[in-house]
Symmetry: C2
Subunit: 519 residues, 2 copies
């Protein structure tokens, strides 16, 4: 189901219901860019530690906009032995909701935009009709603005007609107008005592509203009158301006107050917008599945909660403060035993194809009534809703495969099964050679890196030059750090004996190499 | 006429022709944002000097993308006494053209995007089908890449089948293969001497191509042979790999070379893309009209030529290095005598309406055959092509009005008339109180600023607090600098006597005021 600003409110309860009833959720995000850094290699070095990778993504990837969010909920029907899925494809845009609201700036990367354009991505839906959102701090500020307005109104009659400056600076009443104003205040006091009269027209005067209010406040006469704005009356050739004071019926006042509060609450909800979906996911406690989901999780927190914390806080407080209770990354799952040996390519499209074949089997999944179904034959990859759907399918196939190892074997392994717990809360790390994941529940793996050399060289060098230099050592892997340095890992750690390397290259260059022992 | 990547090449000659035949051009740009600064007041203070304003725009506005460019050409038909106009609305996007091309990142400001969305702007046309472009440095680099590839090819036979590493590092031939390779080189020499044979299959071998080439190079035998790649032949149960050397017919080689060069030139032209239109405008020497065009001019230089220089260079070298020979800003024109007194609102839409009424008259303008006409009744404001068109209309009306002062009066004043020269090369400055324009041909105006105070105050202060503080001085104008300071200009310079100001405010604040004498 496609959800834009136009139909968001009408469908929000459907979204809540789908989340609440589900066994697990799958999510996916599309962004306006990936890397704002100097180069891709600077963003993803093969020997990054999980902390380094997190810091790099935090620094170079958060200025982009998450502008499409896919959510697919899966509920198992035990009688029919099939999953019922509901898929939502949300378009998201930080449309300013009033003059004082944040004017978000975000970066677009032309290669990413071009990639999405080639997939038929509809940018008009994002920019014309994206659902707005607020992060926690923005929501707090807006709530405070409303509270402040309300307490002003409660404290000093319906001050809505009085200029907002009035309360900013204590009012000093000009000497020549003191008498006039004191008389006005007396008139108002009389009005309030006298049950017959409902309103009062002051003598022609302009302004002075704040001075009058000030004096009434001092006399603790906030209520129940309303300074009803200035009216104009034609007098011969000119217009004269009157201020009208009218009594306010207490019940009427309450009704209006409640109406206003309900309207304010609705405005606030509209402004919080898509963040409400994220809050619902977070509060549901459901297992959340994603494919290669580190960036999705980081963007979700950054955009809908708060600027990203340091990695320790991210790692250990993700659950209590932010997103969800349990995450599962299907790319990490597919790269881990017992899947690692039988799955060659873990890209989402290839994984989905592979999992249709033995020893795996396609799960029985149907879309719920009223929800469109996706056809996996006509691929709609890189639409977030579709990608979330496929990710869910992959998870089910892999989870069920784990059931085949049980005795007796089980065809259906639920999202609550102990069998999948080993895959919880480990986020796949792209192109890191020897640390497969960022662990959200404990310290990261610490592989031996005895066979890894840190090499510096002239900036003209290309990967081929390094291959040539190390040609005597068989297979090597090169991980660029910047223009003039890289990690080179040799296939056999025992080969590493600095000083024995023969540089057959004619460059009169200085090569600095050292062993990298700790990640 | 709408011009996207799909129809750009087909229509480029039409664009060139329209520019070439025109009497003057009008331009307009739409951007993905306006201000990346902390606030609008930080970007536009009412007492900015032209230099300061230029620096602020350079710093805070150039990360946005100019993604729609309107060009409207006007040609006067003396017989029919009317203008013939051709309007082009270009969609522009820095689509990467290959893997090594620049991956441009640009900023979007949600308020600007939202504004354009509300005008019905088509973002899909920009992002899916925008015309690419290169700035001068990128064009130079790409040209160099092509030149380098070509000189490699010319220097060492058709090296296209040889791995690019081959030339990077001088080749050392392994001892055990020297004999084999020397024999191969002899075979090739024989082939070239012998007129009967056209090609030669080497003995089964893998690799060694770079070693062979190296040796042939040493013998100055670059041409006329081609190392024709490796072919495989089935031999019993295995495949054997042969390298084929074939003679190259000189004519055939030249033909292929020319074909390749033409293709390269076309690729280069495609990559330079929309910049070619800007170059054509610049080289035409035509008068270029814009409405409030400072940002348009700055973006055009920044995006299609080079990063913006400092203001002195911008001011005096705009003509020789960059854009055009003469610019005219209709907003500045409308704000200057004799128009100033009879035109209240100089926004483009209001100006266009005003210039339809006496003492002005609507010019006779028709769209050329094959070009769509705009209807000024159904406004399509903020489409760049339409805004350029309207800008041109405004110019014609105002220029013709100047003709009414001549004796005898003239109905038509051409773009070459001396009457409009006073308006040349002065770019309107938005919201600057006393310096109407940035002068591109000389020093800027230096107004007296004796009546302007620089005031500092607590950051809670609002404009109303300043009005209150200065209430004794009648009309004041406040120009915010940042949260805690502003320029305050009094209406009567003689009032300024620092120290005599009575602060009636209850804030226990420190007010620092000083006179601002020089802009």
């Amino acid at each position: 189901m496609e959800v834009t600003r136009s139909n968001f409110k009408d469908n929000l309860n459907k979204v809540y219901e789908a989340i609440e009833e589900s066994d697990f959720l799958a999510i996916d995000g599309e962004f306006s860019g990936i890397s704002d850094g100097p180069s891709v290699s600077a963003l993803t070095n093969g020997f990054d530690t999980p902390e380094e990778r997190y810091q790099k993504l935090k620094k170079h990837s958060m200025d982009f906009l998450l502008f499409q969010f896919g959510l697919c909920t899966f509920k198992y029907d035990h009688t029919e032995e099939k999953y019922i899925m509901k898929s939502f494809n949300f378009y998201i845009f930080p449309k300013p909701f009033n003059r004082s609201s944040p004017d978000v700036k975000f970066v677009c990367q032309s290669s990413s935009i071009d990639f999405l354009a080639n997939q038929g991505f509809d940018f008009n839906k994002v920019f014309r009709n994206g659902i707005p959102y607020l992060n926690q701090e923005e929501e707090r500020q807006l709530r405070e603005q409303y509270d402040e307005k309300r307490s002003q109104a409660n404290g000093a009659g319906s001050l809505s007609y009085i200029s907002p400056n009035a309360t900013k600076c204590p009012v000093t009443i000009p000497e020549d107008q003191k008498k006039f104003i004191e008389k006005v205040v007396e008139q108002i006091e009389d009005l309030l005592k006298n049950e017959e009269n409902e309103s009062l027209e002051l003598e022609p005067c302009t302004g002075l509203v704040s001075e009058i209010t000030h004096l009434l406040k001092k006399k603790n006469l906030f209520w129940p009158y309303r300074i009803g704005g200035v009216i104009k009356k034609k007098k011969l050739f000119t217009w004269e301006r009157y201020i009208v004071i009218s009594k306010v019926n207490e019940e009427e006042r309450k009704r209006r107050e409640q109406q206003k509060q309900a309207k304010e609450q609705e405005e606030l909800n509209d402004a919080v917008g898509f963040s409400r979906v994220i809050h619902a996911i977070a509060n549901s406690g459901k297992l959340v599945i994603g494919h290669n989901m580190l960036l999705d999780v980081m963007h979700t927190i950054h955009q809908f909660y708060c600027p990203l914390p340091d990695v320790t806080f991210f790692r250990f407080n993700l659950f209590s403060y932010y997103f969800v209770s349990r995450l599962l990354d299907t790319k990490l799952m597919a790269s881990t035993q017992p899947f690692k040996e039988i799955i060659n390519n873990t890209s989402l499209a290839e994984l989905e194809k592979r999992l249709k074949e033995v020893p795996f089997s396609s799960p029985k999944v149907e879309s719920a009534d009223g929800f469109p179904s996706y056809d996996t034959a006509s691929e709609q990859l890189h639409e977030a809703g579709y990608d979330a759907y496929i990710t869910g399918l992959c998870f089910i196939s892999m989870a069920n495969f784990l059931g085949s190892f049980l005795s007796p074997p089980k065809n259906h392994v639920s999202a609550r099964s102990k069998l999948i717990e080993p895959f919880f809360n480990k986020l796949f790390l792209m192109r890191v050679m020897d640390i497969p994941y960022l662990n959200l529940e404990g310290p990261d793996l610490q592989p031996k890196r005895d066979h890894v050399l840190h090499v510096t060289f002239p900036k003209e060098w290309k990967t081929s030059d390094l291959y040539q230099l190390f040609s005597a050592f068989g297979n090597i892997q090169v991980s660029w750090i910047d223009d003039t340095s890289a990690f080179v890992s040799l296939s056999k750690p025992e080969q590493v004996q600095i000083g024995n390397l023969n540089c057959s290259c004619a460059y009169s260059c200085v090569l600095i190499m050292c062993k990298v022992s700790r990640p």
